[in-house]
Structure formats: structure tokens, C-alpha cells
């Protein structure tokens, strides 16, 4: 090859790149403008059986539902998180405490008996929805700090039918 280059005195063949560069820049601008950065979203599956469904005596669950009550202030913020009849307070600490209480109930995460357990969330009508999501998250499991994986607690989440604000007073 080197020898050939030395010998040849013909004209250098030049490719016209401008057309390709035009198209490539067009594509680049198109992809840059259509790019939409979306934050990742996750889903919580919930079990909300329709009211008035016939329940046979054979379908009695082996464990009673774990009751979690969320009470709201008139402005919709959380005024109290109750695990059974115990008040766990408000704020992120309350949800952490709920997570600990759920762990105490199930004993060991991943135990097959947790499939038969269910949490019933009873939230006030005017409560901000974010509190419900946090409660569902606290009951569903926790994120393992070392591995970053999710340790599942109870996956069956039920909701108590809403009480209309007029009926609740």
C-alpha cells in the first residue's frame, strides 16, 4: 500500500461529506428536541374487592386483617396513624414505626404465611393521598440498605370503603 501511494501521482479522491453531515445534524437535533426526561414510576397493586360480593363461610381468612387507620386534619394532612388501636404519631417516623410493627407481626419476611395476611387501610375521606401511598409502602416492605433490593412484607392491601364526608361529619 505504501509503495503504491508513493508511486501514484493521481488526484486524491474526495468524498463530499456535507450532505451526510446535514442529515446527521438534522437527526441529532430531532432526537435532542424529542427527548423527554421522565422520572421512573412504580406501581402498588391493591386488592379492593367490590362491595356486596357474596362471601361463603369457606372463605374465612386464616388471619384477621391487620387494621391501619389514618386520621386526617381538616386540611387533609395526617393527624394520626393508628396500628390497631395504637397511635404511632405523624410524620415519616410514624410510617417507619408502622413498618417495624408489620415486621413484628409477620415475624420473618418472605414467610409463606404472609401470603394469607392482609392489611386493611382505613383512611379518612379528606386525607391527602400521599399518606395512603406511604402507608401502603410501609406495609408492603422495605428497601434493604445494603443490596438496594425490596424485602417484601405483606402484599395484600385492602381498603375500607370510603365514608362520605357528610356521613363522617
Amino acid at each position: 500500500m505504501a509503495r503504491r501511494r508513493k508511486e501514484s501521482k493521481g488526484e486524491k479522491l474526495e468524498t463530499n461529506m456535507s450532505a451526510m453531515i446535514d442529515i446527521v445534524f438534522q437527526l441529532l437535533i430531532f432526537f435532542m428536541l424529542t427527548l423527554k426526561i421522565v422520572e421512573p414510576e412504580g406501581d402498588f397493586n391493591i386488592n379492593m374487592p367490590a362491595q356486596g360480593q357474596p362471601t361463603s363461610s369457606d372463605e374465612i381468612p386464616p388471619f384477621p386483617d391487620i387494621k391501619v387507620k389514618l386520621k386526617a386534619n381538616p386540611d387533609g394532612t395526617l393527624s394520626g396513624l393508628f396500628f390497631g388501636s395504637r397511635n404511632l404519631g405523624v410524620g415519616p417516623g410514624a410510617f417507619e414505626q408502622l413498618n417495624i410493627e408489620i415486621l413484628k407481626v409477620i415475624g420473618r419476611p418472605g414467610d409463606p404465611i404472609t401470603k394469607d395476611m392482609a392489611v386493611e387501610i382505613d383512611a379518612d375521606y379528606n386525607l391527602h393521598f400521599s399518606n395512603v401511598i406511604n402507608a401502603v409502602g410501609a406495609c408492603t416492605g422495605r428497601v434493604d440498605k445494603r443490596s438496594g433490593n425490596i424485602v417484601k412484607y405483606i402484599e395484600k392491601i385492602k381498603f375500607k370503603p370510603p365514608t362520605s364526608p357528610t356521613a363522617a361529619g
Binding site: 386525607l127 395512603v132 401511598i133 409502602g137 408492603t140
Partner: protein, 160 residues
Amino acid sequence: MAKRPPNDAPEAEVDMTPMIDIVFQLIAFFMVITNFEQTQADERVKLPRDALAKPPEVKVEHSLVLNVGFYRDMQGEKTDAQPWLFNFVDGEPVLPLSAGAQLKKEAVLFKNKEIQLEDVTVKVRADSEVQTGIVQELIKLCQDAGFETFAMSAMSGPEE
């Protein structure tokens, strides 16, 4: 084009190769990260955030997305206390509790496509400040229309 005078100076050549390399890299990058999937998510909905809300590993095949949110200004403050169901009927917002008839129509549409309603997941994308009772009543309307499976959306990541 004016005629150039004869010039003996060597012609300056720009080596385009590195630029083309970089530009192709950029195109490849943008092509890979661009998501052309038509999502039914509405940007007005400010989803709650929870550490456990991880994106699903298996994509749901049939879903009906319900965006419940508020009209917000540029600062993200609510301009109307009334929550609306966005992107539902012809792009027009409707009141969540008056969506029953449309939900029944959606159920019929799924049935017409020979999709069982039990295979359809109703994805509730509710704003963090929406009243829980409204979300529950909306789910009740879905149940009345025949939908059975529900999922509630949240942003992934630690709570703010």
C-alpha cells in the same frame, strides 16, 4: 461564484472524522434513551413519592390510566381546589365522580377488542394532595364498570 485566482498554496483540509464520530455517538445515545412509547400519563399530576415504588419488571399488557390531579401554576401551586380527571374523555378534564358512564364505555371498548376486564389493570395516577376518598370512590366506579385489578402509581425514590 467568482473565479478564483490560481493559488499555489496547499489547500487547507479539515479532518471531519472525529466530529462525525462524536455526532454519531450522540445520535446513538439520543436514539437509545428516547422513549417513543405513547404514555397516557399527565404532567399535571404530582405523584406521591415512595421508596418502594419500583418500576414493574413485567409490563402490564392492557391498562387503563386514570390521571387525577389539580390545575397548578408554574410554581406548582394549586390554582383550583377541585381535583379533575385529566386526559380521559377526548382530552377534556372531567370530574372524577362523574366518570362512571365513560368508564362503562371504556369497559365495553375492551370487551369489543375481546380483552377480558380481569386482564386490564386500572392504573390510578393520583396527585399526592388528592383526597383519598375521591380516589376510593373513583375505584368504586371502576368496579361498577367491571374492572377488577388496580394499581396505584408513585414516583420511585425516597420521600421528600
